[in-house]
C-alpha cells in the first residue's frame, strides 16, 4: 500500500513473487539473469540489478557469487504471511466499500462466501 518503488521494480518483483506464491518457482530455484530480464523488459541492466537487490533485501532471493540469483527456501512462507497480513486491508475492505457503493447488502456477500465454503 505504501509501495512507492519504481514501476520497473514492481513489474519484476510482482512477476517473481507471483511465481513463488504459485509454486512455479520453488526454494533454491535459480531465477533468470539480470541480462535476460533487461532484454525482456528492454531496460538498463543496472535497473534490473537494482530490482533484484531489493528482492534480496526483502529476503525473497539470495545471491550466489558468480552464479546468479536463487529463490530463498522460506520465500513462499514469508510472502504468504505478508499477504495474509494485508489481505483484509487490501482485498476485503475495498470489496466492502465497492459493495456499499453499488448497493449490494453485505449479507448477500457473506451468503456468497458461505456458499463457496460449502462447495
Amino acid at each position: 500500500m505504501f509501495d512507492d518503488r519504481s514501476p520497473i521494480y514492481r513489474q519484476i518483483a510482482s512477476r517473481i513473487k507471483a511465481d513463488v506464491l504459485s509454486g512455479a518457482l520453488k526454494g533454491d530455484d535459480q531465477v533468470m539473469s539480470t541480462t535476460q530480464y533487461a532484454t525482456y523488459y528492454r531496460i538498463n541492466p543496472a535497473t534490473a540489478a537494482k530490482a533484484f537487490q531489493q528482492l534480496v533485501d526483502e529476503g525473497v532471493l539470495y545471491k550466489k557469487r558468480g552464479i546468479g540469483m536463487f529463490v530463498s527456501p522460506d520465500a513462499r512462507d514469508t510472502l504468504r504471511a505478508e499477504r495474509r497480513e494485508s489481505f483484509f486491508a487490501e482485498v476485503v475492505e475495498p470489496m466492502i466499500s465497492e459493495a456499499r457503493a453499488i448497493g449490494i447488502p453485505l449479507r448477500d456477500v457473506v451468503r456468497r462466501i458461505e456458499e463457496r465454503e460449502q462447495r
Binding site: M1, F2, D4, R5, S6, P7, I8, T35, A38, T39, Y41, R42, I43, N44, P45, A46, T47, K50
Partner: protein
C-alpha cells in the same frame, strides 16, 4: 571512458551555446543527455567528440584533453542526427571506411545489423531515405564498438519499428561489450528505460545529473481533495498543478520518506510516479 567536463563554455560569435557546464561521468554506462531544442546538446557533444574546440573550460576523456588528440579521438564516435554522414558511395563503402578508421570494428556484427535494418550493401547512401541514412549511422555507430559512443538524435529519422530494433540492439550489445554510450534525444519516454543516468541541460547550463531511478523516485503526482493536497505539498518544490473540480493533482519534486507516504495515504491522497517526460517538461521550465 571517464568524462570530466569543467566550466565548459562554447560560443559561436555572440551566441553562447554552452554556458559554464560542469559534470562528471564515471563511464561504462548508458547515459541520456536530455534538453530542449537549442539547449546546447549538440554543441556539448560536438566538443566531447572533438568536432569543435571549447571557448573556455575543459573536457577530458580518461583524463586527456580531446581536441586534436588522435590517441583519444580514435576511441570516440559520434553519430549525428543526419545518420551516416559519409554520403559518397555505397553502404558497403561506408562500412569499408569505418573498418579502416575504427580499431574495434566488428564486420560480422555490422552485416547482421544491416540485415536487420534491411540496408542493401550496394545501395548508394546519398539515394537512401532519411530513415535508411539514420539506420546506416546506427550500424556504423554500434559496430565501431568505440569506448565512447555518442548518438546525437541519430535515430530520429527512423520509423517506430526500426527505432525499437535500435533500442534492443543497443542494450544487447552494451551488455556484451560494456562501454560508455551517450544518447541524446527528445523522444524521452522511448529511451528513458535504457538509461542508467541522465544529464538534463537547459540554455547551456546543467539542470540535473542523476541516476534515472533516483530522478524518477523524486517526482510524484499527489492527487486528492484540493485543500488536503495543498496542505501536504506545502513544503515541497512544486513542479505544476492541475485541477478538475474539487480534485487537484500537484506534481512535486523531492525525496518522500516512509512517514510522509503514510501521511499521504491516511489523508486519502494518491501518490503516483511521474513519467520522465513530464519531469523533464517541468524541470526545463514548461512551454516557451
Amino acid at each position: 571512458m571517464r568524462i570530466d567536463v569543467e566550466n565548459l563554455v562554447l560560443r559561436y560569435g555572440d551566441t553562447t551555446a554552452v554556458d559554464g557546464l560542469t559534470f562528471n561521468l564515471a563511464g561504462d554506462k548508458i547515459y541520456g543527455l536530455l534538453g530542449r531544442s537549442g539547449s546546447g546538446k549538440t554543441s556539448l557533444l560536438s566538443v566531447l567528440a572533438a568536432f569543435r574546440r571549447e571557448s573556455a573550460g575543459s573536457v577530458r576523456v580518461n583524463g586527456q584533453p580531446v581536441f586534436e588528440n588522435a590517441d583519444v579521438t580514435r576511441d570516440i564516435i559520434m553519430i549525428r542526427d543526419g545518420g551516416e554522414t559519409v554520403k559518397i558511395g555505397t553502404a558497403e563503402d561506408a562500412v569499408y571506411f569505418a573498418e579502416w578508421l575504427r580499431p574495434n570494428w566488428d564486420g560480422d556484427y555490422a552485416r547482421s545489423l544491416m540485415d536487420r535494418f534491411e540496408l542493401r550493401p550496394k545501395a548508394k547512401v546519398s539515394e537512401m531515405s532519411k530513415g535508411q541514412q539514420s539506420a546506416m549511422g546506427v550500424v556504423i555507430g554500434l559496430a565501431s564498438r568505440a569506448p565512447l559512443t555518442i548518438f546525437d538524435e541519430s535515430y530520429l529519422g527512423m520509423d517506430v519499428p526500426s527505432r525499437y530494433a535500435f533500442y534492443e540492439a543497443i542494450l544487447a550489445d552494451y551488455m556484451l561489450h560494456p562501454r560508455t554510450i551517450i544518447l541524446s534525444a527528445h523522444l524521452i519516454e522511448e529511451i528513458s528505460s535504457l538509461l542508467e543516468e541522465v544529464v538534463i541541460i537547459d540554455r547551456g547550463r546543467l539542470v540535473v545529473h542523476e541516476e534515472t531511478e533516483t530522478l524518477l523516485s523524486r517526482g510524484r503526482a499527489v492527487t486528492g481533495p484540493a485543500d488536503r493536497v495543498d496542505a501536504f505539498t506545502s513544503g515541497f518544490t512544486v513542479l505544476g498543478t492541475r485541477q478538475l473540480g474539487p480534485t487537484k493533482s500537484t506534481m512535486v519534486y523531492g525525496d518522500l520518506d516512509q512517514d510522509q507516504r503514510r501521511q499521504a495515504v491516511e489523508a486519502g491522497l494518491e501518490l503516483e510516479p511521474i513519467a520522465m517526460q513530464d519531469l523533464f517538461v517541468h524541470l526545463t521550465g514548461g512551454p516557451r
